[in-house]
Amino acid sequence: MAKVSRRGFLFGGAAATGAIVASPLSAAAGFAAGSSDAATKAQLAGETAVLDRRAEFYGEHQNGIELELQACTSFVGLTLLPETDLAAAKRWFSLLTDDISRLTKGEPILADATPQLAIGPAGLTVTVGISPEFLNKLGLSRKAPPNFRQLPSFSIDKLREEFSGGDVLLHVSADDPVVLSHAVRSLTRDSAAFASVKYTQQGFANAQGVVPKGVRQRNLMGQVDGTANPEFGTEDFRQTVWIDSGPDWLVGGTMMVFRRIAMKLNTWDALGRVEKEQVIGRDLKVGAPLGKANELDRPDFEATDANGMLVIPEFAHIRRAHVPAAGERIFRRPFNYDQGVTSEGVPNVGLLWAAYQRDIESQFLPIQRRLEQFDLLNVWTSPIGSAVFAILPGVAEGQILGEKLFA
């Protein structure tokens, strides 16, 4: 029903006093209001191009998964308040749906305390997921898909409660930290009557305009990450990620594994380049599998060197993570985190590692078990947070997220 935003109303006032409002699609127009110079407007459009990037909210799937990494992210885990019953949860998700539909367009939410910060979409996405505990608490466990439970514990885990679990996940990402902050503030404010915030895990990737589209990003250990991912928009991606059978409330959704993985950078950096490359199984400079020239070349796990030693060692990460069977693939979309350096000079850094798949049991767990057994990288990485969420399917205009779950 929106025709004129509050912001638009203010611009209307400015226009009446004689200024020309330029054509840019967002609040950047506000900055241009004092000038009619075409060159200035073109320059402004260039300078604010990142602001106008917009991810569609309505559709078969939620946004925030099948797209390039945004620069900034926040994984907000929430715990249902004891008094939040099924009817209340439905009212909550109704508010969230309305909020997300507005924020992803770069508009303020209804009753926005700071509508001035809704300056544009800036690639904002919000992805909503629910945990097995959510279903149990609301008496919906009969609707749970098979194998929907927290991960089994692994010997390498050093899990901490403050980074783990949660009944509901709001995964919010944007290409601008101020836009992200405003969105998280808006969504958590409208959640306060229904749930408490268990964690806010903030992370980042490269900024827009820094790496070419399609380049897999490097994590803070310097490795190229995400090379074996299925390509967006392909049948491969669809079959790996998007659920097409089972409980109706989940068709069009996906299953998410969220792990906070700490990196021990100081001991990692004590290794030389050759040792690091042996641990990973890839050349660090271009990300090529050892023995190959390019990042996207297929690793040759049988190749041996002049001494008869495997070129990619038995303990190498890419050997352990390699998926021999087509049905075991996952889609990884990891962000970095950096919580600063301790007074002893130890970087508190790592990954907010997110993986999406139709089924955790048959796709993610076989890989994780191989990594647990014999991945030398485990020496320098530790999972310190873990959660599992069912990501709800997308909505059409007029529907609310989780509608079929609440029906």
Partner: protein, 169 residues
């Protein structure tokens, strides 16, 4: 953005009408010239609205797309015993709200913002609590245009906690 353009056109139309130089309708992209537009409407949830007998405010942006003055004179809602148009005024050094006599006049092309701390539609004598995320239906009564029935979401807001000045009897 369509929204900005519309507001811009509205403001220009107003200026044009005042200067008498051009046909306002030729500037706007207005497909429904006889309508009122109500956007971004919501009803506030607070400790005053969480019980039967309580009260609360409805906020929105109302744009006059007709060719004449339109007055928002009142309204009705299934959930409320009484609906009034209120304004917030300074009384004894504090912001207080009171019934706005004569309603709110909206000129052609003009947008009036009903917002916490300002003009609003007051629902009084609530028949049941309004909870966050609820949707309520109300009808706005206009003089000069068709009345309009809306379904609006209920949301909490930290802004606009005025005291209420009861009407003198």
């Amino acid at each position: 953005m369509k929204k900005t353009v519309l507001a811009f056109a509205g403001a220009i139309a107003l200026v044009a009408a005042l200067s008498g130089c051009t046909n306002a309708a030729s500037i706007g992209t207005d497909a429904h010239p006889e309508e009122m537009h109500v956007d971004n409407a919501w009803v506030r949830v607070s400790e005053f609205s969480d019980h039967a007998g309580g009260m609360t405010g409805v906020f929105a942006e109302i744009e006059n797309h007709t060719n004449g003055d339109v007055t928002l004179v009142g309204g009705s809602a299934e959930i409320a015993g009484m609906v009034e148009i209120h304004e917030v005024v300074m009384a004894d050094g504090a912001m207080a709200m009171q019934k706005k006599d004569g309603g709110i006049v909206i000129k052609p092309g003009e947008i009036v913002a009903l917002e916490p701390g300002g003009l609003h539609v007051m629902l009084m004598g609530l028949k049941q609590p309004i909870l966050e995320g609820d949707e309520i239906t109300l009808t706005l009564d206009f003089d000069g245009a068709e009345d309009m029935t809306l379904t609006v979401p209920a949301k909490a807001s930290f802004a606009g906690d005025e005291t209420y000045v009861p009407e003198e009897k």
